[in-house]
Subunit: 399 residues, 2 copies
């Protein structure tokens, strides 16, 4: 098949116009916003023009269906409240171009999906989570966004497009092209990342409790300062984890609340959320053990109470070997010596779809690793390289 890179880029820029922020190439197109609804109507038109049958489920996931059986390509079409033009959109428009080109060339049957609410207006990857059967529509309908709007209310804006459930059985596998959203490919001057696995995530609230006191009248020796405990825990953990992780492991304290968070009061409570990610379930568990031990040692040493919240998380997901190898071969053809096999540190719709179908993913570079930001961008040559790899893999795989 022959990719029309001009047509692909023109469509990608046209999708960007729905919710364009007016700042650089930035986009504001959260799930079910006016911009998102308009974008889905436009995408449905493009799918029809490509000879695909348009379908939408109650959740607002938009499909352009080829005759069954087909490969399913795509990603999500919603954006962060203030996001970039490629996060999700790239995979959807690339899928459209490959489906179109394959149809024109009499190639394998390719269907397209634009998942809904990947960016978490209501949940996290909600659209693919419901479609892959992990959650029911009824279970997610009461979810509310920050403004108090429920998912059930929000999805009325797309009600006229809903055709009903879209069966999984018609698809032989799912491939998602996405921007890396990290700095590795860009820093190495590489064009393509073929994903080996999507890392697992663990997420736990940890609360240190001390004694709230007057910051002037309480001698240091008599204090039980919850924040000093957090600081000690954080620095000790940095050392402790370095011994058991790989360069692919990450951990983050992104959220912290002190109580009462007042200049003149010794903090009586400090609650942080610690998140850690790794491709290996065993290592995730070893990291957890180290985290608990370090926190307990600090709490004991400083006379603090310690509470661990519920541990939440997602298991690591290995990519399907057959799909992945087709991507590797195509990457070596399109970008010889300028691609790598790599973990995905971010969560994607592919994580959910993997419960039901063979899945694979490929990445193109994010300039300076920037994403979820108006400044998110990728060289157009790299965008086209990504579509080319996708097209070659489809040709290899057939339907």
């Amino acid at each position: 098949m022959k990719i029309d890179s001009a047509r692909f880029l023109a469509d990608l820029h046209e999708l960007r116009s729905f919710g364009a922020s007016g700042v650089g190439k930035g986009v504001m197109r959260p799930a079910f916003s006016e911009a998102d609804i308009a974008a889905r109507r436009w995408l449905a038109g493009r799918m029809e023009e490509a000879g695909l049958r348009v379908a939408m489920d109650a959740m607002g996931n938009l499909f352009g269906l080829a005759e069954a059986p087909s490969l399913l390509l795509g990603s999500h079409a919603d954006s962060q409240p203030e996001g970039g033009w490629l996060d999700g959109a790239l995979g959807v428009v690339a899928a459209l171009e490959v489906a179109r080109a394959s149809r024109e060339a009499g190639g394998p049957a390719v269907s397209v999906v634009a998942f809904q609410d990947e960016e978490g207006r209501f949940g996290i990857t909600t659209g693919s989570d419901v479609w892959s059967g992990n959650l029911t529509q009824k279970a997610v309908d009461p979810l509310r966004d920050h403004a108090g709007v429920s998912l059930e209310e929000a999805r009325r804006g797309l009600a006229d497009m809903v055709t009903g459930p879209v069966a999984l059985a018609q698809f032989s596998g799912y491939i998602e092209l996405h921007i890396e959203q990290g700095p590795s490919l860009d820093a190495a001057g590489e064009q393509i990342g073929v994903v080996s696995d999507i890392v697992g995530i663990r997420d736990m609230q940890i609360t240190f409790g001390g004694q709230q006191n007057h910051a002037g009248t309480t001698p240091m020796a008599l204090r039980r300062d919850a924040f000093q405990g957090v600081a000690a825990f954080t620095t000790q953990l940095e050392d402790a984890l370095r011994n058991i992780v790989t360069p692919q492991s990450v951990w983050t304290i992104g959220h912290l609340e002190l109580h009462p968070n007042a200049t003149s009061i010794v903090p009586g409570k400090a609650r942080l959320t610690l998140q850690w990610r790794d491709g290996d379930t065993e290592r995730l568990a070893r990291m957890e053990a180290e985290i608990r031990q370090t926190a307990q040692a600090v709490a004991q040493e400083r006379g603090l109470t310690l509470t661990f919240g519920e541990m939440r998380g997602l298991e690591p997901v290995a990519m399907d070997r057959r799909l992945r190898e087709a991507l590797e071969m195509a990457a070596e053809d399109v970008a010889p010596g300028k691609w790598r096999l790599m973990s995905s540190g971010a969560l994607h719709d592919a994580t959910n779809v993997a419960r039901q179908l063979p899945v694979a993913m490929l990445f193109v570079p994010s300039i300076n690793g920037i994403s979820h930001d108006f400044a998110e961008d990728t060289d157009e040559a790299d965008l086209v390289a990504g579509v080319e790899v996708l097209a070659r893999a489809v040709t290899t795989l057939g339907a």
Copy 2:
């Protein structure tokens, strides 16, 4: 003179009834609240009954004046939004009792003051700050509380009581009895603290800037995590300061804001407020130098930007030697071997008054060091001991 401890305690409990929280002995009597206004009207009546001339300045500071020259005794009558029954109130009612008893015994002339807004509804120790001439009424009138009410609006509730400015020159000195608001006397089983100095305070915002990143896709080695910087700074500072401080020095990180403070995002910015207190100006400066050096070293090591905010603060205030020695002699008479000379770690109205008059302070214990809390309390025997010390010192000093 002869203190009437039953009358003193009865008045103290009656003052507690204005704004009583209904939880333990707790009080809710912020400056210019209905409870505060009612309390000032009641206090004015008690002053009159004691033969004092009632006066109030525009700021709402309430005076019961003896013939000039007189010693001025007192504290503040407002409370924290949710405070204790003794913080401020003790010093006012003790002053009333000593003025009354001295008058009855034909002793030295003693005037009484109940300062306004010590607890910071609008400013910090606003009443005594204006009375002592550091700020003008015009300058503080636009200050607003958390609900948006201005001081100018709030003080209308006391307008009918205002008699005009109250001259400083009529007073030979100021003595304030207060609860310790810290654990030292209670822990040592002592009854009286004679204050040697009120510590100086330094207060500085410190902002570490890093790179906001995706918590899944950014390798640890490429991160510039603002919170990891804060944690390293905090632990290194704990070690660094221990070498230059005394057991009376304190430092506190009570306030910290991460940005964007989201579980899945590497913090790009972290702003903390560091406060430190010591009785010695030199040591405060050495602590500042250590703080700046430690922060700079951490920022440099971790590739973070560093911004120091404006340094605010109050200088340490030494107590007047003559007044202090009168309190020491009286303490040894009333509580032989059960008193100490100590720094005040907390700010008091005496800090402001010291700009204009000789001042001294004495403390009684706070049970478990608790203050600014409904649970704040002191043994009645210790409250009475405090009044006795005050009365004896007044006798020694004369007017």
